[in-house]
């Protein structure tokens, strides 16, 4: 088991290093560059462009840029954003927490609810309620998240005025302590519900189909033949076996949502990573982008390592590979 974990950690580190190098070069391959954004497009001054290019070291060969950047990163210095001139570390730090708060909460909620509904539907397979839930899951699956978010804002914020429309804090008030937390929760409800609604169908279908699959396995027949009670077979054997694919699903979606909730964040003006990434890409903000990509690959790797370990704990068949 120890060896297994070490192997996973080393693979993770290798993945991070490789993706770091790739993204560094790939970003610079993309058309456009930050100097053009900074100098403006209306009437760019060639002297200004030249000055900025030299200032940010973009006149040097790309390999030299890479080595310089690497040196700084090893010292813990990720540089400054070309656009806002703020430290990349600070920018990411500010945005990381809201995103993790939102994605983790919504992912865990969807995992629990989706799995619960899926298991419930599987137990009632073939009945009206099962068919209804399946149908509903397809409809929700086809619903765009940003649209759903806007409709929710329309209903709960604009019409009924019971929840705030956007942001993470009430900027008119200066809450402290518990009130601040409550304020954040209040702001989080709508984006969280939106994310849950679009994620639940995935967990629902995964849980439902894997429970159904396990229910048709031979060992369930053996257990029935032994006279074990149906509830016990279900709770002890079926669930334990059926939960395994859900874990994979959870980690995949978690890794995805850390970077992929941009649209929802924009709809709700949530000060998270998603919008930071969009802006950084639009402006070709090299240091910020590289920093963000590094952060994303590190968090994905951490999630994957945790998943692999949980997976190994849950399923003895993959433990000693």
């Amino acid at each position: 088991m120890k060896k297994y974990i070490w192997k996973k950690v080393l693979t993770g580190i290798l993945t991070i290093v490789l993706s770091f190098c790739f993204t560094f070069f790939l970003i610079r391959c993309a058309p456009g560059n930050p100097i053009k954004v900074l100098a403006g497009t209306d009437n760019p001054n060639p002297e200004l462009i030249e000055h900025l290019t030299t200032k940010y070291g973009l006149d040097k060969p790309i390999s030299v840029q890479f080595i310089n950047y690497l040196k700084n990163v090893l010292k813990g210095d990720f540089g400054y954003s070309y656009i806002s001139n703020e430290s990349v570390t600070k920018l990411i730090k500010e945005r990381m927490f809201p995103t993790i708060l939102l994605t983790l909460t919504s992912s865990i909620l969807s995992l629990v609810l989706g799995t619960f509904f899926g298991v419930y539907a599987a137990r009632k397979v073939g009945t009206g309620i099962d068919k209804f839930m399946c149908g509903l899951s397809y409809i929700i699956d086809a619903t765009p998240g940003f649209w759903l978010g806007m409709i929710l804002i329309l209903i709960f914020a604009s019409t009924f005025k019971i929840l705030p429309t956007s942001g993470m804090y009430d900027i008119r008030e200066d809450y402290q302590g518990i009130y601040k937390a409550l304020d954040v929760i209040k702001h989080m409800i709508l984006p969280c519900i939106t994310l849950c609604i679009i994620q639940i169908p995935l967990y629902f279908r995964m849980a439902r189909s894997s429970v159904l699959q396990i229910m048709s396995e031979d060992f369930i027949l053996t257990l029935r033949a032994t006279g074990m009670k149906e509830n016990r077979i279900f709770n002890k054997y079926i669930l334990r076996n059926a939960i395994i694919p859900t874990i994979t699903m959870f980690s995949l979606s978690l890794a995805f949502t850390i970077s992929g909730v941009a649209l929802i964040e924009i709809v709700f003006a949530w000060p998270g990573m998603g919008r930071l990434i969009m802006d950084a890409i639009k402006n070709r903000d090299y240091p910020l982008l590289t920093g963000i990509y590094l952060m994303i690959s590190i968090s994905i790797c951490i999630v994957m390592i945790i998943t692999d370990i949980v997976y190994a704990l849950m399923d003895p068949r993959i433990r000693y590979e």
Binding site: T222, K229, Y237
Partner: protein, 323 residues
């Protein structure tokens, strides 16, 4: 008295469009300490019969009529809860695919302990463990299997685990549904030997479902030949397999090579198994029977009893009127 008395058992699978009569008017008596081999081609209703006795067929899509008297009690009359108390304690089973017969994510010992507690909820850990290890020794498994997962064992070992598991309460009736089919002949031979030894020691009654006649010949006292859901011939192995009366049994035996004596041509039975969704008013085997006479196409044959508990369902025996 017979341990298991099956009377006019009919099992039907219902689909939207048709009904498939998998077991038809099947009657059989099994005495205590008998070992009965049920042979037949794929689709002859052997496994359905076993699942019917075990009441493991899906309730919504199957219909079972007739009587299955076990120790004088009709199993089909029992409620699920009443039958649950008999399950495994009195009737246990070994399935064909033993590799998948236990949960892959729980240790073997854990599962066997859990199964033991189904009927003995108050058993102490030590006691249960002792019993399981004793069974392991019975089937020639080492103690360390207790702490292994199913995927860590070979097919043959899992088969032994399944057999040990089926014996955990020393049941009265053991059903082996193709239990050794997936094994190589050496392992199969070993396991059959072990089962026969266990039978002596534990007074087991055994039903062995297989399409391998040699398994029946080497390990069973009696044999039942099934075809298209019907019983065609039953009796002692040394009667039926040495001197078969039914044309189907004869054909079946011609398709197996002899170990001793001269080499002779192996012959299969031309044709294929009947469509069980149709209703047959004739002998089920007529269409493939080389000896069929006109009466065979007109009437369902009655079962005729010969000395030594030898039953045959064929018009050609004991006079053509068959009554």
């Amino acid at each position: 008295m017979a341990l298991l008395e099956i009377q006019n058992l009919n099992i039907t699978y219902k689909t939207d469009k048709k009904e498939i009569r998998a077991v038809k008017d099947f009657s059989l008596n099994i005495d205590t300490k008998d070992s009965i081999g049920i042979v037949g081609e794929s689709g002859s209703g052997k496994s359905t019969l076993a699942m019917g006795i075990l009441k493991l067929l899906p309730k919504g899509t199957t219909k079972t009529t007739g009587k299955i008297l076990f120790d004088g009690v009709d199993l089909l009359e029992l409620t699920e809860e009443e039958f649950r108390k008999l399950r495994w304690k009195d009737i246990s089973v070994v399935f064909q695919k033993s590799m998948n017969s236990l949960s892959p994510v729980h240790k073997i010992g854990f599962q066997m302990k859990d199964i033991y507690r189904v009927h003995e909820p108050d058993a102490r850990d030590e006691e249960v463990r002792k019993r399981i290890l004793e069974l392991f020794r019975f089937v020639n498994l080492s103690d360390r299997v207790y702490n292994l997962y199913p995927h860590e064992l070979s097919g043959g070992m899992m088969q032994r685990v399944s057999i040990a598991l089926s014996l955990i309460y020393y049941p009265k009736l053991l059903i082996l549904d193709e239990a050794t089919t997936a094994l190589d002949v050496v392992t199969q031979g070993q396991i059959l030997d072990e089962i026969m030894k266990l039978e002596e020691a534990l007074d087991l009654t055994r039903i062995m479902i297989t399409h391998d006649i040699s398994v029946v010949a080497s390990s069973c006292k009696k044999v039942v030949v099934m075809y298209g859901g019907c019983l065609l011939e039953s009796g002692y192995v040394y009667d039926v397999l040495v001197n078969p009366k039914h044309p189907y049994t004869q054909g079946l035996l011609n398709s197996f090579p002899d170990f001793i004596g001269e080499k002779k041509d192996l012959r299969g039975i031309p044709g294929s198994i009947p469509d069980l969704s149709l209703e047959y008013k004739s002998c089920i085997f007529t269409n493939r029977c080389k000896k069929a006479k006109s009466i065979c196409f007109e009437k369902i044959p009655k079962i005729k009893t010969f000395p030594n508990e030898w039953n045959v369902a064929c018009h050609l025996l004991g006079g053509f009127d068959g009554e």
